[in-house]
Point group: D2
Chain length 381, copies 4
């Protein structure tokens, strides 16, 4: 059956997962219509494994019902949208089943834990798209107003030819070596460490901002804290806690990427610097309402990075919120994402980032791993 | 009748006003229970003068119904809380009626446009409180986590004896002299200009942070753009667009206050600096997730203002939201305010800031006006 | 005899005082010709009261000789310039004698400790000027490249009509209440405290940047630490350690000034913010190589305070130093001052700031004191 | 013959080169004794190729004489110190001859243009040292007070085990693609581009701060502007204008390095971030009087990067200058360098960084080039 955009009835949404991402997506579903003109939606059902906990989360986050079997839920006629916030190893199975059931699918990043899964998801998305069923991967930072505005400036040529990008994503929640073992630190469950979790965001941003594609990669992975206390004694950490990469882009730019979960003092610091022949930009997610822009067209004596408070009606998304200078929070990257997802569904258009774009990020991540395993030797994509 | 805290049934809320403040308060009512353990509430009715517009706003912001007559609404048995977001000149009448009807009342700041009204409101609040009916004035910036944390540090003696406070609230939405005349620029409707609108916040913060009371005031008011285009020709602006004051506090500190709506480039910049004998603090509302703290107990070679990203579980309010470094927005000052209001109702306790505290701010504002009219000569409170 | 500008022989310089200011002026005399094309000068003699210490200082700071009697020194034929770094209470006597002896005079700020002295100095300077003998008062911050550039931007109309100035000068060297008594804390020797010492700089900057004159003043003085340990027991501090003022300027701007020596964590922070109808500026002496400029002519979505690193050849003074981005230090405000003083002597022109300009600052300081003594009531100048 | 430290007569200094570095070194020689207690020195002779220009520079920068033949100068009995500011390709020849002539030698970085030259210089330095003749390579940024203080903090264990270092040195003087060809852009004269010029500083800092040695390297070089206008038509640029490297250190840390001369808007921005298990540091040469320090020993709610204004008497070097908060300039890194060089000569001790340390940096640079030529594959040192 076809997409939901002809419908007058509200779109029914099912969300799978109620932890960190489920909480963040729920707030977006609960609030999007208060700020944006989007098709009507209803938070129909929240899905989780523990029936008691998911019921409590559903009540708290505004869902009409809860359930424990995602297969039953995606079969429901009153569900038109499936929002997958489950761990990465479940993405492929659920997303493919949902798309085949004719449901629009939003899946959290990274697309999947493996290239094989990612490729199957792309195939399913392409088939579904032909039937008017849409899909999107949740690189929510594309919807930070400052970064969306940065992309506009670059696309408008305000930076000239982009030469260098410096992207880093530094956190410190694993800086303490006594911080305990979790599934996120085992390769079999997490796929990778900082690489998949946060380098994926940094790499997506590089490609998004430049509207360009990575063509070759040199990479390195490292685990600074190699063992951590587990429930039954000390365990080996089998994923990276920091990663480095140098990326070539098709258009000639070079990007460096550095990510870490042990960078003490950095809480959630995705920093991006873009240097072009005619301008430059910097951004830090810890100050997500700000963008620094240097305009090379200004006389040199007056040049400088200007701190733009990205809260003007002219800026992307943010006019829907509050008057100038009244800053928004991290959570609204999800609100904006769902706004764009819903508008794409309404218009029968393919939302971006598509699964194909998610797969392209996975390719870069895989190349970083391949290079890291081969003494950082450059890998072509 | 008594307070609502014994009730098991949800507390019914009526909000009066659906413009800027109504929108902000609505999001708080819609979301508070998703993040905080508060008594159950229901957004029963939104009240406004234009029946069509208020109906649309009610639908958008999550209210079950809309209405145009606030008197009818405060008489309803299914309404236990009245949230007043109407313009200042209506505060007294509505608040007093609601309190007399046994409804808990939250009223936006400033408490009222005149001292006389403010005093009547305080009397009504005191009478109601004796009957278990609570009231609160909406100085929402007390619930910025960084400022609540600042207050803790000061109360814990980390700054020693506070000597100087520098408070400024700078905006630029009236910087353009062609910006048109509005009711906010006429004394008869607005009471005052930047003074009542934003100096009230700055003054409340000074008293809140220090836990102290202003005892004398020297003030000055100025209107830089004296005429503006109105619908039928040029009109005189009859309120201040900037104000300055020097305040003495009972405990010996001196505070300077400067506010402006014509400070080009400042969007919503409430900046506060506090200097004590043992430490210092700085804050800027445009970066509301951050607090700068200098600890004088540290060896001098290591002293410096440290930028604390106020997003840790240990910080006030913010543990309910997202992991560290995931910043929140301006709007959640209202969410926190309603959380505290609801908890006070549940506990039968008087929430703060009380109407008395709102009146104390009004007294300072009136003293600034009095001093300004008398060549800045100091006025005792 | 006449000014030195026809001479081919080097100008002989005598400096009086070898403490903090003497050290700073010495480096300027020692280095100015290495960077700027100025008339040849020779550091002939350094004068101080203690013959041994002044001899050592002279050797260290590059002076050919030392002496203890300033009257003898200003009588010497090989001295054409007298640079007065002695304490304020000696300024008038030395400066007037030197001018009458036909010597060009540079005197440290503030011009003098009293209005009467200042007025006599102005009379002497006017008489000397008629004979080609120049004089200057050392408001060295006029020669910070960033502030000189700020003045250019304002003079060029880039800020439009200036409305508000916020000037503060915060230090913390007296924050510790156990810091001992000194002559600087006694009214009879120091004249005033933070007011004369640092508010003088702030007030001079306001008038300098705007090219305007203060016409009325409301002021306040305060002493937070009223007693300090002296050599023979606890003594009363008889000068202010903090001061506040609101200033009206002839052109319609309003400036606030706040200075303190007890603002813990602020080392030498002269901060200036200027808000105009078309642009805005901010500056902090602790980052003296930077100027923040907001250009209101830029589309609003791109507006922001831009951090200009003031080290380009196009910027005032700084092209003589190092390549861009190689920052200069505080001391070179004196080097630039002496460069301009020497060029004025060479050209037979009156250097700025003149003694008249120094007197104008004294008038404002006196008005602050007068207002402070009269409950902050506005005083007209 | 032996070192000069027993002498009572002033040490005679000859400097070779009077361009950018010669000007900077001259100011250090001219001023060092005014601030530090060092052996007496005399600026005897400045050497350059153009007799007229060098004579003018000598007069301007305080040298007693000028000369054009460095061989004659290093043979003079009244010269005890040779300060080499000539281009890199001359370093080896002059330094070796001077050391053999018994002169103490200070040579600008990088040590030489090739490994072979560097090794011969080290051999000469070792032989001379045995005879009491000292040598030093001019990595002047070791003498930035903030970086010297950073090293202290790290050495004192305040950062715990250092894990990650992020070092970048970004400039923009070649950002304009019409900027003309110079000898610095030809491999035969410059050796390399940004790599030797500025990555050398970044790499030296990494090893200096950590007191550690690089053991393996992955590198990349790139030339964004491949052709530039020369005097007789367009020429190929044969050196890099940007470089990237990932470095392993013996102690387990990983450092990333990125340098560029085309990073628009960055004037002279050597930025360093150091993340350890117990603390973190950041620094930017454009704000060289500041160090940011995060102390992980502080309770997490109070942690933050604190901006230390490195101008206290307790801080390295800076107590000799001005009172707190009175910032110093870039040039004084050279003054401090010469102070330490002179003290080492006085004490008969080997100054640091030695030629061996300079050689170690050269080895890392060579490894970066080797890796870059081999698809970024890791090279062991």
């Amino acid at each position: 059956m076809s997409g939901a955009h002809e419908q007058k009835a509200p779109l029914g949404v099912a969300a799978i997962g109620y932890a960190f991402m489920g909480k963040a997506h729920s707030q977006a579903w609960r609030n999007v219509a208060a700020y944006f003109d989007v098709p009507a939606v209803e938070q129909r059902v929240l899905v989780g494994r523990d029936s008691e906990q998911v019921a409590e989360a559903a009540a708290r986050y505004g869902w009409a019902e809860s359930a424990t079997d995602w297969r039953e839920v995606i079969a429901r006629d009153d569900v038109q949208i499936v929002d997958i916030c489950a761990p990465g190893w479940l993405h492929a199975e659920i997303a493919i089943a949902a798309l085949e059931a004719g449901k629009h699918v939003l899946v959290e990043k990274p697309l999947a834990n493996s290239m094989a899964e990612s490729e199957r998801m792309v195939a399913a998305a392409q088939a579904a798209r032909a039937r008017g069923v849409q899909s999107m991967v949740g690189f929510n930072y594309r919807r930070v107003p400052a970064l969306a505005f940065a992309k506009q400036l670059i696309a408008d040529g305000r930076l000239g030819a982009v030469r260098e990008v410096r992207a880093s994503y530094l956190q410190d929640w694993l800086a303490d070596e006594d911080s305990p073992m979790t599934w996120r630190l085992r390769k079999e469950t997490a796929g990778s460490g900082a690489l998949g979790d946060i380098a994926s965001h940094a790499i997506d941003q590089v490609q998004f901002l430049l509207g360009d594609t990575v063509t070759e990669v040199s990479g390195r992975l490292h685990t600074f804290v190699g063992q951590r206390p587990g429930p039954s004694g000390v365990e080996d950490v089998t994923v990276d806690d920091a990663a480095w990469a140098t990326l070539s882009l098709a258009g000639g730019a070079v990007a460096s990427v550095e990510v870490s979960r042990v960078a003490l003092g950095r809480k959630n610091s995705l920093r991006i610097e873009v240097y072009g022949s005619a301008g430059a930009l910097t951004f830090d997610l810890e100050r997500l309402n700000e963008l620094e822009f240097l305009d090379g067209a200004v006389p040199v004596a007056e040049q400088g990075f200007r701190r733009i408070v990205v809260t003007e009606p002219e800026h992307p998304y943010v006019g829907a919120w509050w008057p100038q200078g009244h800053v928004i929070g991290w959570e609204h990257t999800f609100t904006h994402q769902i706004r764009d997802f819903l508008l794409a569904i309404r218009d029968g258009a393919a939302p971006s980032p598509s699964f194909e774009e998610g797969l392209q990020v996975q390719r870069v991540l895989a190349a970083v791993e391949e290079s890291a395993a081969a003494k950082s030797t450059i890998v072509q994509l």
